[in-house]
């Protein structure tokens, strides 16, 4: 197991290294040289290779440059906007998992019956739904027509919440204002529509993957053995079959997290969510290349880290991989 973690760690380093090659290459296309700090500006010369290594050196010291618009450090800004994105993404993944796994298992149990067909066809629709359109439909129905949901942003403007952790759900509870609990509820209400919009595609994918993995597992010989041993039905499904089905499911979860991080860009725009997506889109409009460079680097690093973490998790879930030398 330690050798696997070590190997994945090397892969991580290699991945990040390759990433900097790309971002450095792109920064060469900028009209002005990319300047991370005053000290960095002094090191810039004609040698591309020397520039590249200086670039890495300053990046690794946390010098990611200053935004041309706000004048603040790009890395600081990233950490201001990131919690909002992380909160939304995490809740969306949990939403997709909590709904997707049981739906997939239910469909597999009723394979080829009408329940299964209904679930499979619905997930196909969910999967093919363009989320910008889906988001607007939901806003139109629930926020504008029915008026049971807020239209946009993270919390109502009447609540004044001090950002401590950056996660609205936690900050509202930490707040010493008398309306802390009401603010928490309000923040939850604001989360509902974005979560559904962002979670629809992962939900469809998790349902389908769980269904096919469970069908595979349920038709296998070891399930027949478990039945012959007289084990209760629930135990066969939730322990023996699901444990094996988790191997493909975990892999897909990992892939979906990466997709979700990019999916937030659109969702955040629709719901005026003050996260990374909104921050980066604004940087694009304002031609704030330093911010764009930093945001790109941060998101790509995040995707690489998540993928490597999932790879380690896959090894943990699958005993066959765990024991491979």
């Amino acid at each position: 197991m330690t050798s696997i973690i070590f190997r994945q760690f090397l892969l991580l380093i290699l991945g990040l290294f390759t990433l900097t090659l790309f971002t450095f290459g792109i920064s060469q296309l900028f009209p002005d040289p990319l300047i991370l700090s005053d000290a960095h500006a002094k090191t810039i010369n004609d040698s591309l290779i020397e520039n590249y290594f200086n670039y890495i050196a300053f990046l690794s010291q946390g010098e990611w440059g200053l935004s041309r618009i706000s004048g603040r450090s790009v890395l600081d800004e990233f950490f201001i906007y990131f919690p909002a994105t992380l909160e939304l993404t995490t809740i969306a993944i949990i939403f997709a998992l909590v709904l997707g796994l049981p739906l997939g298992i239910y469909a597999a149990e009723n394979k080829n019956k009408w329940q299964d067909k209904l679930i499979v066809s619905t997930t196909l629709i969910g999967y093919s739904m363009p989320i910008f359109w889906w988001g607007m439909l939901l806003v139109l129905l629930f926020a504008l027509t029915l008026g049971i949901s807020p239209v946009a942003s993270r919390i109502g403007f009447e609540y004044d919440i001090l950002p401590v952790t950056g996660f609205m759900l936690i900050d509202t509870l930490l707040s010493d204002q008398p309306y802390a609990l009401a603010a928490f509820q309000n923040a939850l209400q604001h989360l509902v529509l974005p979560t559904i919009v962002l979670g629809t595609i992962p939900l469809a994918i998790f349902t389908r993957v769980t269904r096919s993995a469970m069908i595979d597992a349920l038709s296998s010989d070891y399930i027949r053995t478990a039945k012959a041993k007289g084990l209760p039905y629930d135990r066969i499904i939730w322990s023996h079959a699901l444990r094996n089905a988790m191997i493909p499911i975990v892999t897909v979860i990992g892939l979906q997290i990466s997709v979700l991080i990019t999916g937030t860009l659109i969702t955040e725009k629709i719901f005026a969510w003050p996260g990374i997506g909104k921050w980066l889109l604004e940087a694009v409009y304002r031609r704030d290349l330093v911010t764009l460079h930093g945001g790109l680097l941060a998101i790509a690093s995040l995707v690489i880290i998540v993928n490597i973490a999932v790879e380690v998790l896959v090894h943990l879930v699958n005993p066959k991989l765990r024991h491979k030398k």
Binding site: D221, Y222, A228, K229, G230, H240, R243, I247, P319, H323
Partner: protein, 332 residues
């Protein structure tokens, strides 16, 4: 008192165009502690019969039977849940592919422990002792090491031993071994069969040994049932079948066993029946062996029934009594 009495067990497969019969009115009896061999070609329905008795048929299968009496209770009169619980308490089954029939995601310890716990195994420490004992019983040398391992870390033979240990953890009165050695090396095969026979004799439990290898059955079984195309062709004591097989199919099976040593005739070819086992939806009229049978006569277009023959057993062949008479004449 019989351990198992199955009367007219039929299994069919549901397709869009109707039911396809796989097992046709099979009747089998097993005494307490008896070892019964069931032999037949691949696809003859012998495994389906075993799965039907255990209640493990896939949802696309349908089974019917007058009764299946297991250790004094009729399974056909029970609800699905009662039946599953009762069968699990009385019978256990071992499958063909040991590697696949153990769950790849759980260690041997947890799979054994779960089985022991479910069959009333007591506290944690007791269960561990029991698991070690079981592994020791099935001839595993370092039970403590094997307990910590996963199925993919063990060889096929070891996995089959573990599967047997797991079956024994259910403390079955009847153990069904469905081609337990097909996926194993020849040297391991005899070890596994010997182990099964030894355990069955030691615990006075019944053993149903399903195989397509007649040679495996000859030394170890009390009685043999010969299955062809979903029908029981012959059901008699092992020595009767080996010394004077009444059914042409049984005879053909015995003739197709390679002979070594003195009995081997140099340059001779192994006997084989012409043709193949008929597809289940293209069965011949009358006797199902008919077109392939070397002794077929005009009357074989009538469907033969399973008939009792005195001092022998049961045979499904029109010619059986005739041939036994012929044999008597030849002896005199």
């Amino acid at each position: 008192m019989h351990l198992l009495r199955v009367e007219n067990l039929s299994v069919s497969y549901l397709t869009e165009s109707g039911e396809v019969p796989i097992v046709d009115r099979m009747s089998i009896k097993m005494g307490m502690g008896e070892i019964l061999g069931v032999v037949g070609e691949s696809g003859s329905g012998k495994s389906m019969m075993a799965l039907a008795i255990m209640g493990l048929l896939s949802p696309k299968m349908r089974m019917r039977a007058d009764y299946i009496n297991l250790d004094g209770e009729d399974l056909m009169k029970m609800s699905v849940e009662d039946r599953a619980a009762y069968v699990a308490s009385k019978a256990a089954i071992i499958f063909q592919e040991p590697q696949a029939s153990l769950n790849p995601c759980f260690s041997i310890a947890s799979q054994l422990d779960e089985t022991i716990a479910f069959h009333g195994g007591g506290g944690r420490a007791d269960r561990k002792t029991k698991a070690l004992e079981l592994l020791d019983d099935v001839g595993i040398n370092r039970p403590d090491l094997v307990l910590k391992m996963y199925p993919h870390q063990l060889s096929g033979g070891m996995n089959q031993r573990v599967a047997i240990a797991m079956a024994l953890a259910c403390e079955p009165r009847l153990l069904i071994a469905d081609e337990p050695t097909t996926a194993l090396d020849v040297t391991i095969q005899s070890q596994i069969i010997e182990l099964l026979v030894k355990l069955s004799r030691a615990q006075q439990s019944g053993l149903m040994l399903i195989t397509h290898d007649f040679a495996l059955l000859s030394e170890n079984t009390d009685r043999i049932g010969v299955v062809y195309s979903g029908q029981l062709m012959e059901h008699a004591a092992t020595e009767n079948i080996l010394s004077s097989p009444h059914h042409p199919y049984t005879k053909a099976l015995l003739d197709s066993i390679p002979q070594l040593g003195d009995r081997h005739v140099k340059g001779s070819r192994l006997f084989a029946l012409d043709g193949n086992i008929p597809a289940i939806d293209q069965l011949p009229v009358g006797c199902r062996l008919g077109p392939r049978c070397p002794k077929a006569e005009r009357q074989c277009v009538n469907t033969p029934e399973l008939r009792s023959i005195e001092n022998y057993g049961k045979v499904r062949c029109h010619l059986a009594s005739v041939s036994s008479v012929n044999k008597a004449e030849a002896d005199s």
